[in-house]
Amino acid sequence: MIDSLAVLAVFFGLFFFLSGSIGLLRLPDVFSRLHALAKADNIGLAFVTLGIILLEPSLLNDIKLVIIWLLIMAASAVSSHLVARRALRGERDDD
């Protein structure tokens, strides 16, 4: 039961990654691409992490997984911000 839940969660997460990647390739400008990617990073990774936590019995490893997820969230937030800022300034420069 728990196994199948875990597999389901991982697949759900992968679905977000897939749509995020499609968004990255298909969307027209930097900002909407960033939006798509951030969704994939945050929610997709959350579900994948959840799935692995369900499979992994050791509490220590569970904590590590959550920390990894939190770190990636923080990094992706900051880097999205930097990319967006750069893109915004770049557009201004072109004007």
Partner: protein, 320 residues
């Protein structure tokens, strides 16, 4: 069934890797090529993990993709043009293509032959039989800092030489504009975390994946992050200390080697009872040197006052 699944995963990784390598090498824009190269580094890290080389996966993620990515990205701004064109004539193009294709076939044939003729054991049994007396239980660390420590010593010399060249050639890059407050905010709590992680990697290298190179590169990553968030932070560095730290790792290594030669006849022949401690001492010193070296390499040249650092006193004497 499980074999087929693995084979599918492996083929996907391999195809993705080759595709990334190809696009990196045939991209027409430098920025794009560098980005793809960094992505290739991350993919390689995954492949190292898949091939049961976790030490390498760590090193590749931090050094291969991280530090060299940072070096390359900051170098792009040094060049006026970012377009990539090949100046080779179509005939030369054809010759190069034929040559590399022929070489690929020859090498593939040799690899196939080699894997079939080998016993598959190679040096792994010799290593595992000597692990108990090497002073550490992580076999990669045992090879790096005990069995083949001399290679590692010369490798540190290579790093030092490269950094000396960087310091000789250029002044450091002009400070960039003030950074985003969000970045500064994150840096403030990420840098201590990175420093702690680096210490952990150094310590854990004795019995699990990790070691001096990963730890040193992680420390350097922390410094690079600081530099990005606070562009003028290097002004606070004590340059003389930095110079000493740069050399300290290798110096310790050589001295330990010579000391052990006086005790046990052979250079770097550790007394087994002390081996663990000696390795940890060498690794700690090496971590600091590598961090100093990679940070200086990232800065891209000598900080103001680097060469006059120890002449400052002389200058004052002259003036007085």
């Amino acid at each position: 069934m499980i074999e087929i699944l693995w084979f599918l995963v492996d083929s996907m990784l391999v195809l993705l890797l080759l595709a990334l390598a190809w696009t990196t090498c045939s991209s027409r824009d430098v920025m794009r090529a560098v980005t793809l190269f960094i992505a290739m580094g991350l993919l390689l890290a995954i492949i190292w993990a898949r091939l049961k080389a976790p030490d390498l996966a760590l090193a590749e993620a931090i050094i291969g993709a991280g530090v060299s990515g940072a070096l390359l990205l900051s170098a792009i701004s040094d060049y006026p043009s970012t377009a990539i064109t090949s100046h080779r004539s179509p005939l030369m193009h054809g010759i190069i293509n034929t040559f590399t294709l022929a070489l690929t076939i020859l090498m593939s044939w040799a690899v196939w032959h080699g894997l079939n003729m080998s016993d598959g054991v190679r040096l792994s049994e010799q290593v595992s039989s000597q692990i108990p007396v090497s002073g550490v239980s992580n076999p990669v660390t045992a090879v790096l800092l005990n069995f083949r420590a001399y290679d590692t010593l010369l490798e540190l010399a290579v790093v030092l030489t490269a950094v000396l060249a960087v310091l000789i050639l250029n002044d450091k890059r002009a400070d960039s504009a003030a950074s985003s407050p969000l970045l500064r905010g994150m840096t403030r709590w990420l840098v201590p975390l990175l420093v702690v992680t680096s210490g952990y990697l150094l310590w854990v290298g004795a019995h699990a994946p990790g070691g001096a190179f990963q730890a040193g590169a992680m420390l350097a990553a922390a410094m690079i992050l600081l530099q990005l968030a606070y562009p003028s932070i290097h002004r606070g560095f004590n340059l003389y200390l930095l110079r000493v730290l740069l050399v300290a790792g290798i110096f310790t290594f050589v001295l330990v080697g010579l000391w052990m030669m006086s005790a046990n006849d052979d250079f770097l022949a550790y007394t087994p009872a002390w081996a663990g401690t000696l390795i940890l001492i060498i690794e700690t010193a090496a971590t600091i040197s590598i961090a100093a070296a990679l940070t200086l390499a990232y800065i891209g040249g000598r900080p103001t006052g680097w060469e006059t650092g120890d002449h400052v006193i002389t200058g004052k004497e002259d003036a007085g």
